[in-house]
């Protein structure tokens, strides 16, 4: 976008929030986060009910935290200590609501100009024209939201938010409802806009693909707390806690038991529970007496229609296709080789292998596609309390398992820290 007034800001969004809220789950829990977002995309990643939308609502001023501080540069938005709580209409925060909330009784043009009331007519017109053109929706200016497609509505809502030149941009799952092609087009538009303006952008999603498409930094939220942060690669590619792993899209997670370690080969063997299937996985520091879990991404598994030979991959299993289903541009195959694997492949691959339900197939998994995670069960909780962790005994439910996972994630030694000191 070539807006002459495009400014590159160096303002940081600093957020500290404590807020008790009732999520979609039954229990109410505490949203307790602290982070700084620089210009560019910061992805907020987490399951629904993790507190992502509440967090954005607090930054935009639609909800008030109980305590904390929110500021853009030195513009303080919320600080109960100084009795500051700027109302949402004066925060200069652009917030694209998940529902888009386009005004149904106004045309596209009126919608986009809604936030420009303070400008004079000419400036309003020209800004609106520029942004409509850059989002390729200029020909829709006279239509109403009910008369345009979902992807077009998404663009209009985005344009309406961006045209006000906010100092911080909040996007709540803006692309969830769209097809893959439209999604990538709008991602391109967003990236271009970000390149020109460079303000902090918080982008909420639970789709792994979007994290990798946009992400410079990712913050993983679970039950109101930040459980991981860093680059998408660091956080999602090699997750050390199971919560992150599930969020990161490990479609296959198997309960396993430790069989043998082969330090000289850099591998170890694990048996998938209730089967005779032995997986060869990277050698990792785990407590071998405790159950393990192995995560494998569905997209990392190869299929072969003939017995493969001369491969570096250590895990080759014969199996039978139990189901085939196409979702969007991905074919989801379930393959039974003693344990059921979910495999993602393209329609082209399905056709060239002539896959069909009931057909015999070989499944190939590289050792390094297997991610070892240690499950923490209630035994782990006792140990954590034993080692002096201040976790109160009263919370030995789900929350405490989470607390333990967090503890595991935070420690450099990984999962082996659950061993009690001698």
């Amino acid at each position: 976008m070539t807006s002459p007034a495009a400014r590159v800001s160096q303002e940081l969004l600093t957020v500290t929030i404590q807020k008790r809220f009732s999520g979609e789950r039954e229990s109410s829990f505490l949203l307790d986060v602290e982070f700084v977002a620089a210009k560019g995309f910061t992805i907020l990643f987490g399951a629904s009910g993790a507190g992502k939308t509440t967090l954005l609502d607090c930054i935009a001023g639609l909800q008030s935290p109980e305590s904390g501080k929110i500021a853009i540069g030195d513009f303080v938005l919320f600080d109960p200590a100084a009795r500051v709580n700027v109302p949402p209409n004066r925060r200069s925060v652009g917030y694209l609501l998940q529902s888009l909330a386009l005004f149904p009784h106004m045309t596209v043009q009126e919608n986009v100009q809604y936030g420009l009331a303070a400008l004079d007519e000419g400036e309003r017109e020209s800004r609106c024209r520029v942004i409509l053109e850059s989002f390729r929706i200029a020909d829709l200016a006279r239509r109403r939201p009910g008369e345009i497609s979902g992807g077009e509505r998404q663009r209009v809502a985005l344009a309406r938010t961006l045209v006000t030149r906010p100092r911080v941009l909040l996007l709540d799952e803006p692309l969830t409802a769209l097809d893959a092609v439209t999604r990538s087009q709008i991602l391109d538009d967003l990236r271009a806009w970000n390149h020109a303006h460079g303000i902090p952008i918080l982008y909420v999603t639970h789709q792994r693909a979007e994290v990798f498409a946009l992400g410079e930094r990712v913050i993983v939220l679970d039950a109101g707390r930040i459980i991981a942060r860093g680059s998408p690669h660091e956080v999602l590619q090699r997750p050390e806690s199971e919560t992150v792993a599930q969020l990161a899209g490990f479609e296959n997670i198997f309960d396993c038991s430790f069989v043998a370690a082969h330090p000289e080969q850099g591998t170890m063997t694990c048996r998938v529970a209730n089967s005779t299937l032995d997986l060869e996985v990277p050698l990792s520091r785990v407590d071998t007496s405790q159950p393990l879990r192995v995560g494998i991404r569905a997209g990392d598994i190869l299929l072969a229609s003939l017995p493969p030979q001369g491969l570096s991959a250590r895990n080759v299993f014969p199996g039978v296709i139990s189901s085939l289903e196409q979702r969007d541009v991905t074919v989801v195959a379930k393959v039974n080789c003693g344990a059921e694997f979910e495999v993602h492949l393209t329609p082209a691959a399905r056709d060239s292998l002539q896959l069909q339900v009931g057909g015999k197939i070989w499944l190939v998994v590289k050792t390094y596609s297997c991610q070892v995670m240690q499950t923490v069960d209630s035994g782990g909780i006792k140990i954590l309390i034993f080692t002096g962790d201040p976790t109160p005994k009263s919370c030995c439910g789900i929350t405490c398992v989470r607390a333990c996972l967090r503890q595991l994630w935070g420690s450099p030694a990984g999962a082996s820290c659950t061993k009690p000191p001698a």
Partner: protein
Amino acid sequence: MILQALTLTLRLAVTVSVILLIVGIPLAYWLAFSRKRWKFLVEAVVSLPIVLPPTVLGFYVLVAIGPLSPVGRWYQSMAGHGLAFTFGGLVVGSVLYSLPFAVQPMATSFAAVDRQLLDASALLGASRGRTFCRVVLPLGMPGVLTGFVLSFAHTLGEFGVVLMIGGNIPGTTRTISILIYDQVQALDYAAANRTALLLLALCFALLAVLYGLRRRASWNLWGWR
């Protein structure tokens, strides 16, 4: 005589429904969006005229505007004459009596406006006033229209309150419904029939126009959904 009563009735109905439009919109807005704990009390008071016999309401209004009450005395000192048995008195009584018919449809339609649209408006920098004028009012317009027409029609057919407050003074307080009562008392059934038929036709036409308009006027007029 019938023409005189008709003009008076229409004048009363127009005055009352316009006043209710002005008073009703802010009241309905408050009812739809206030988070005050005692809101339910106001809601109950506003709805009272629906269940109360008109004689009860008329009686208290009559007392309130009479020379014994401070309001009545104040009005008398300002206007030089009392409110009771005047057109002004009729207006006061009718406004109170038709209040729920104006306010309830308005409040319902304001409350039905998607909260996310209000949030979106605030996020785009709009004050509450601007949000109301540009979002709540246009989207709640069908309810405002309904409230206006209902209060108009309700005032047209009003009897008890008018009789209590206004009495039966030709040209000043004798509305159509009072005229019918008069004619029946005088055993002039033919005249009563003509007058009654006129009122029936008038009210039917009004409601037919209202519902006809509403069918087209809802969101479809704006090409949504």
